[in-house]
């Protein structure tokens, strides 16, 4: 079980959180089919540092972004 650093509540156990997928995916306003498909479905899914969103659902309720290495599963500071 991960220990997740909530920017508001500090380190808290993973079961209080919900992972909300890759961060930084901009919702396009006027998009062609390709751009819209990319927004909907294409993900970097990296073997390495991953910017991802979490929500502290059973805590402060806030969404925030963290960087985690997907091999070590360790949280790291933003690149």
């Amino acid at each position: 079980m991960l220990l997740i650093p909530c920017p508001h509540c500090g380190d808290r156990p993973e079961i209080e959180f919900r992972n909300c997928g890759e961060a930084g995916i901009v919702r396009p306003t006027a998009a062609d089919d390709a751009a819209w498909t990319a927004f909907l479905y294409l993900r970097s899914n990296p073997r390495g540092l991953h910017a991802e969103r979490w929500r502290h659902v059973h805590g402060c309720g806030r969404f925030f972004t963290l960087h985690r290495h997907t091999v070590s599963d360790r949280f790291e500071s933003a690149p």
């Binding site: 919702r27 819209w36 909907l40 806030r62 070590s72 599963d73």
Partner: protein, 967 residues
Amino acid sequence: MSRLPTGGRIDRSRPLQFSFDGRQLEGFAGDTLASALLANGVTVVGRGTKYHRPRGILTAGPEEPNALVEIDRGGGRREPNTRATMQPLFDGLVARSQNRFPSLRFDAAALAGLAAPLLPAGFYYKTFLSPRGWHHLWEPVLRRLAGLGRAPDAPDPDRYANRYAHCDVLVVGAGPAGLAAALAAAETGERVILCDEQAEPGGWLLSDPQESIDGQPAWTWLDDAVATLRAHPRVRVLTSTTAFHYGLQNFLALAEILPEGSRLRERLWQIRAKRVVLATGAIERKLLFHGNDRPGAMFASAARTWLNRYAVLPGRRAVLAASHDSGWQSVFQLQDAGAEIAAIVDWRAAPPPPLLEEAARRGIEVLAGHGVTALPDGMLAMPRAADGTLIRNRTRTLFCDLVLMAGGWTPTVHLFSQSRGRLRWDDAADAFLPGEPAQNVVCIGACRGTDDLAACIAEGQAAGAGTSLPPRVQRAGGLAVRAAVTGADGRSFVDPQNDVTADDIRLAVREGFRSIEHVKRYTTTGMATDQGKIANMVGLAVVADTLERAIPEVGITTFRGPYTPVSFGTLAGRHRGVLFEPIRTPPLHDWAAAQGAVFEPVGLWQRARYFPRPGEDMQAAVARECRAVRGAAGIFDASTLGKIEVVGPDATTFLERIYVNALANLAPGRCRYALLLREDGCIADDGIIGRLAADRFHVTTTTGGAASVLHMMEDYLQTEWPDLRVWLTSTTEHWGVIAVQGPRSGEVIAPLVEGIDLAALPPMGVACCTVAGIGARLFSVGFTGERGFEINVPAGHAPAVWQAVLQAGAPHGITPYGTEAMHVLRAERGYIIVGQETDGTVTPDDVGLGRLIGKKKADFIGKRSLDRPDMRTTGRRQLVGLLPIDATVPEEGAQLVIAPGSATPLGHITSAYASPTLGRPIALGLLQSGRVRIGTSVFALGSTGTAAPVKVVSPMFTQPAGEGENG
């Protein structure tokens, strides 16, 4: 009896009766089942899984592969595969051997041993090739032969608990190193947890009282250490507690087995530690020789444990088969305790002189540079040639009933490896040792390859204090394991439980299974219940030897949790029956239950499905309830609907972006049916949006969608549109919702409503008022196609208001109805249920709700996706009504086809009911190009294969009475 008259840590004042395979035996408090069996001279305890050869107790610890027994406490408390070495003896314990038929002494399946030449590693892959031959003939036979004990056949009545804990230092292993670490950590004032898998702390010290620490006898030091720790307010000592899982960020899980007779059987500890100290010790290695699996062959260290800790002499005449110094001491102690020593057979040509001198002094014959092979009643010793094979023409016969094996030590690095720390091969230690850690963890003592007691203590003190460790100290040595297996007899057992021999491993390598992972899987080495604690290093050495590679080049298989097996019950904890998951009930549940309602689960909720009267089945009850609603008035508990209060100056903007509907023009005091899409354009949820004030909305969601809709809204609010000044508050549980529906609903509630002019409340209106004296939000909406109201009152007042409405409605024939009637009523009107008419692939247009979309809106969730080619294509499945021609209710899920023989599905029936209003069955379905097919017929193909014709009609079977507009 081989119990010694004195000594050991057993309590001779507390004799305990137990039975094994029906034999009544006696042991003492402090015994394990294994020590008590040995004390009673029981040597055969189990059978190997493949050849069913008899097996004895090999070890004194959790790594035991042979002495697995069934423990039966009666009823559902019978369990298989319990390690006799880890089972504390208790009075009345009933144990049985396993995997033998008809008895342990005579096992018919041992005939498999005769067929051994036909059963090499992986034999089953090479034969039984025809599908019928395998599955029908051979598989059942092989299955019956495999497996160990019997699964229980009654539900387990015992209780299991869970505990989360935090500490500064978690010390795993209460041997000398771990105890020293815990003592040192306690001195710093930190929060310390010390756990050990054994029932008693002490680790190897319990087996070695001759040692001394700080000038004190080992057991005196031990008693003091344990007493100090137990008395310390910041230290928790957990015995019979195995650390079995090492997760990320120093999260460890421990399984505690509570003493026999406790209220709880086991407890799961989930611990987050700032630092972890692993003092998990080391496990002895076996040697490979023919007969190394026979009863009476055991680890030299185990013999010492039997002798010192349990005062049991495990045999009368012993042979030591050693490639390592550490076994010699065991033999000397056995001799002191009265055993005869037939000989010490050491693989090495030149064991250390001090050992040779001591043996000579004791008159023990030493056969250096020799190996052994089995005789029916002893061992045959022979010189080992340079290639490791035995030189058969110079033999020495050694009669014995005990063969001690000492092949060196494997540090218990399982948890360290699970923590994702790197292991590194160390030639001097002849083992993989902990290398670079991935977390805040240190390994000390035998787990680090240190075998000197003083050094173990020193390492513990450093680790406990958080200072850097002194260098590793290793005193004993031996022949490298790779050299020790060279030339080993092919029939030697590497993995005694899975009956894997040296030849099996060599065969696997020959057949191209070169990766150690392939060898493991092809031969099943290390896959037995000890998870390779016995077999892995030796098996690895055989692979390395066969491939002529160094051990670290071959690598090791992955250490996985649990460290030792953990019962399902411990992991499931208290989450069973009603505690498995919360059962949520709405505020009127008790009333419904008292009425004899039949309930249905919807997510975590229990909802009243119908209210049968005496003699009524579901259909009759539902028909009556429906007729009441259509004819007069019905009352329904709608409290489970999700409710969200949306408040703030930008609330309208926000909701316009979330829902497909135009909402800017929704006046305060009015409400609207609204659809919510996912970004892919498919319907996610629906509900009513009521505007209470310019900046305040009361939004409802489906029962199942409550949490996810709120989460989705928060996501957009916080991530996409953080500039909007809006707040979302769940009010699902605050409001009890009483739906009163039917032509007379207005008359029913009129006398109860105060504060507004009810007559002036338009359909799709919302007002704050009081109902039966309780502050309420009154919605004039219906999901039935009738004039209707939904009265929202604070949940605690809902039962009283419900009663008041019932009373007021009695003269009008008000009838409670459940979810089933609700479903029928809405279907008659063609209203969809999200999750039934929709399944995550359905657009608003598909269900005929395209008109809800605010045409002038620049954006809303999912808008852009509706423009994708396949969302606009013709031939999508569309919601239609279906009228069965033969007047039977079709099956929900039935497939729609153009003609009975057609194999092309055109859609399916989403809902089907007997409609009391229409007096005939009706159905809703999604049908390819459904709207243009209205007026035609298609066929509904059910699960039994019968195709029935259905007429395609508009989904609106009945026209709304009032303007109780849903869509």
